[in-house]
């Protein structure tokens, strides 16, 4: 296409590149960091803060002493330089994790129980990816973990398990024949019979696969936080569902009982409930009963978190359209069927983020038991570690480690909950 006019261009000019300030990193920085005078000030302040933090913390961290017997030795090694004394961790990490009284040759037991926790909860947490039959592992885990951590003969958890299985089958049989209520009674009776008979078997075989027993008062450290958190959340979930259903009930007396219980528990701090567990609860049991402190604390914390979970689930129930309830009725389902098959699966799905929040909050609140002089992670640090002559004053290192442990677990749980929310989202947005 040669042109006959020499002043007309025949070839196309290449595109000139965009101005440097409108591309790449510069454009991004202009838009995100320096888009106005206020933004610029904020950016400068933020950068200053980060630099200040890093400059302040890095030498402390990098010069950290990991090998020393006490604080004085740490200071001698540092010789005036800024530096952390992480030796407290290498010296006392077993106390922080397992408490001060757990026998040292048994540390593998709670460790194994902790490691087994992940494969056993996986079928429940990742239901889409793990076949349903692996849920058996989840069901068996509590018994195994009890045996590992507390020791004693394996017959105790086995008998308990057989009793529960018998109760389940009795419930299924009787519920088909004569309704939910009779099923419940039958289940309780079956379990009671098995446990009574199992008592004799356990006595006879008390040495069978027995691990050395560890008393509840010897539990401590982060292990105690984990035990309290896992046990109380698992127990309070069914209790919370019952309370939420009771609060939604049309029967005024049942509703009243649930409302009073929930509002009372939610109105008082956990510490007062722990005081109750510590000094008052024993008065309410028959004379001569001697419940472990840890068991009393579990009772109170479970009641505490059940009330909060009940409120979350009530929100889920209230969010369901009324048509779902009416659909259940029009299909001719009775109350327990409608709840089990239609209402609760949807309500619980909506409630998952709230329940996880409660669980995370509860796990953090297990540190409060240090106030009633139980030696959980915080209790061990405040008591035996910071008050020992070797390590007075190394609070940053010790509490930083505690904070890190809690952060890892709680952040992990909340990330899981966000993932689950995305997985369960069935509507198209």
């Amino acid at each position: 296409m040669a042109s006959e006019y020499s002043y007309v261009r025949t070839d196309f000019l290449g595109e000139s590149p965009p101005p440097a300030r409108e591309t790449g990193a510069i454009k991004w920085m202009r838009e995100n960091l320096f888009s106005g005078w206020l933004n610029t000030i904020l950016t400068v302040l933020a950068i200053y803060f980060v630099v200040w933090l890093v400059v302040g913390v890095w030498p402390w961290f990098a010069n950290g002493v990991w090998d020393a017997d006490n604080l004085a030795e740490c200071r001698a090694i540092l010789d005036g330089a800024t530096g952390a004394c992480f030796a407290v961790l290498s010296d006392r990490w077993t106390q922080m994790l397992f408490g001060i009284a757990y026998p040292a040759d048994g540390f593998w037991r709670p460790t194994l129980a902790f490691i087994l926790l992940f494969p056993s909860v996986a079928p429940a947490l990742f239901a889409q990816y793990v076949p349903r039959k692996f849920l058996i592992a989840t069901a068996l885990y509590p018994f195994l973990a009890y045996w590992l951590i507390w020791g004693g003969t394996i017959m105790i958890p086995i008998v308990t398990l057989i009793g529960l299985i018998a109760a389940y089958f009795a419930f299924i049989r009787l519920e088909r024949a004569s309704g939910f209520f009779m099923g419940l009674v039958g289940g309780v009776v079956a379990a009671a019979i098995i446990w009574y008979l199992g008592g004799f078997v356990t006595d006879a075989m008390s040495g069978f696969l027995a691990l050395p027993e560890v008393a509840s008062r010897d539990m401590g450290g982060f292990m105690l936080n984990m035990i309290l958190g896992v046990v109380c959340v698992s127990l309070s979930l069914p209790l919370g569902i019952v309370l939420a259903l009771g609060r939604q009930s049309s029967m005024p007396i049942i509703k009243g009982i649930c409302v009073i219980f929930i509002e009372f528990i939610r109105g008082v701090p956990l510490i007062t409930l722990l005081f109750v567990a510590n000094v008052v609860l024993a008065y309410f049991f028959p004379p001569g009963t001697n419940l472990d402190l840890i068991l009393r604390v579990i009772i109170m914390i479970t009641m505490f978190s059940a009330a909060y979970i009940a409120e979350v689930i009530r929100g889920g129930l209230a969010a369901l359209p009324k048509g779902q309830y009416e659909a259940g009725d029009s299909l001719g389902l009775n109350y327990s069927q409608a709840m089990r098959l239609i209402i609760l699966p949807q309500a619980l799905k909506i409630s998952i983020p709230g329940i996880v929040n409660v669980a995370v909050g509860l796990f953090k609140d297990t540190t409060l038991v240090s106030v009633i002089s139980m030696f959980d992670l915080v209790g061990v640090i405040r008591g035996p570690i910071l008050s020992s002559t070797d390590w007075t004053g190394v609070y940053w290192e010790a509490f930083g480690f505690a904070a890190l442990l809690f952060f890892v677990i709680c952040y992990g749980i909340s990330q899981y909950s966000q993932w689950l929310e995305r997985q369960l989202q069935t509507d198209h947005r």
């Binding site: 933004n39 701090p269 915080v378 609070y395 952040y411």
Partner: protein, 406 residues
């Protein structure tokens, strides 16, 4: 009644089996059973309680409240000596609880709103920094924060004696505030003659500002004329107070803390335990409030901002008049429960020795008198009353802010 309701299927009226099979009566049966079980259960617990008390030779008695407490409380907002009664000690503790809860609620709200708004900012580094703050504080127990802040302050801050002498290594801020490892000393007001009138004028001018703003709004709605608000408000707030201050001959003076002996005297002494508790609660709860604020602002659809922009509102006005009023409706209910959490978490004071009601009534009084049941019952009652009042007040506010529907 039952005979007349449904003659076709129930010709012979009420039968006993209907108590369990007929849905009309079954609920009564269930409720009756539940009530009987509850009464039996409570009766069992109470009989155990009485039995145990009798065995231990104890009884339930409230007389200990009238006896002299015999211990000192370091922070005394009202008159208290160790000769005062346990009831008085509990009251001091209750006021201390309310003081720290109030301070923490206000600062947590400020921190939370700032962090929540900044987390949504376009500024990458600022929003990331705020995410780190929120996640770091939400996922670590508040007890650990309280202890870290308390220990860090009591170890890192200078001792009062470093303020002394010519070669002092520490100095007071503005010659008025002394930050030491025993606490922070700030100036206090000393009321002279005529101070009452001065304070009345100050309060009246605060009321006046609110009244003026209401008036300006009324004029705006009635005529569309926008009265200036900022400068007149400032004037109403400051001028009458200043005039009264000088006319009355400076009735109110400041008392500055001064170093005497080994410690500071005068002014207001904010103890380290109070400050640690206050800061920890504020920063911890602020992270939660930041999340609520962020969720609330994100709940307002983008079309609202664009619509307001299309109407020609300035960005500041868009935030104040369009976004915030709608976001507040989403923010306030969770904010109420955060305030309740602060009040309840303030009971962690016992970990740093701040004498709140858990420290006095639930701590020393309980241990000295051994009246565990009574003391804990009173303690729970106090928190219950506070919680219920906070939620009642905030619910009233929430109802006022709610969308007015037909």
């Amino acid at each position: 009644m039952s005979t007349t309701t449904d003659p076709d299927t129930r010709p012979d009226g009420f039968r006993l089996g209907m108590l369990i099979n007929d849905t009309r009566y079954r609920s009564y049966t269930f409720q009756f059973i539940a009530l009987v079980l509850l009464i039996l259960g409570l009766g069992y617990l109470i009989s155990n309680l009485l039995d145990n008390l009798a065995r231990a030779g104890l009884n339930i008695s409230w007389a200990f409240l009238g006896e002299p407490a015999g211990y000192d409380i370091n922070q005394r907002p009202i008159e208290y000596t160790s000769q005062s009664t346990h009831a008085r000690a509990s009251m001091v503790g209750a006021i201390n609880t309310l003081i720290v809860a109030f301070l923490a609620c206000i600062s947590a709200t400020v921190i939370g709103v700032v962090a929540g708004v900044l987390r949504l900012s376009n500024n990458w580094i600022v929003s990331k920094l705020m995410s780190v703050y929120v996640e770091a504080f939400r996922n670590v127990p508040v007890l650990i924060w309280i202890l870290i802040i308390f220990l860090a302050m009591s170890n890192a801050l200078p001792q009062p004696r470093t303020f002394r002498g010519d070669d002092a290594t520490s100095s007071m801020l503005f010659d008025a505030i002394a930050v030491t490892n025993r606490g922070v000393y700030i100036p206090s007001f000393v009321n002279g003659a005529g101070s009452l009138i001065f304070w009345i004028v100050v309060i009246a001018s605060i009321v006046g500002v609110f009244w003026y703003r209401k008036y300006a709004k009324k004029v705006l709605y009635a005529t569309g004329r926008m009265l200036p608000t900022f400068l007149p408000s400032l004037g109403i707030l400051i001028v009458p107070g200043l005039l009264a201050y000088f006319i009355l001959g400076r009735p109110v003076t400041l008392e500055y803390p001064e170093l005497s002996g080994f410690n500071f005297k005068g002014g207001i002494h904010l103890r380290l335990s109070l400050i640690a508790l206050w800061f920890a609660l504020a920063i911890y709860t602020g992270a939660f409030i930041a999340e609520n604020v962020r969720a609330g602002i994100q709940a307002v659809s983008k079309g609202q901002t664009e619509a307001a922009g299309a109407l020609g509102l300035r960005p500041g006005r868009i935030m104040n008049l369009v976004i915030l009023p709608q976001a507040l409706r989403v923010i306030i209910p969770p904010l109420i429960s955060q305030y309740l959490n602060i009040t309840k978490n303030s009971s962690l004071a016992i970990a740093v020795g701040y004498m709140d009601i858990t420290g006095t009534l639930g701590g020393i009084t309980l241990n000295q008198t051994g009246r565990a049941i009574e003391a804990i019952l009173l303690l729970m009652l106090f928190y219950l009353v506070v919680s219920l009042s906070i939620s009642a007040i905030m619910n009233v506010y929430n109802n006022r802010m709610k969308l007015q529907e037909r």
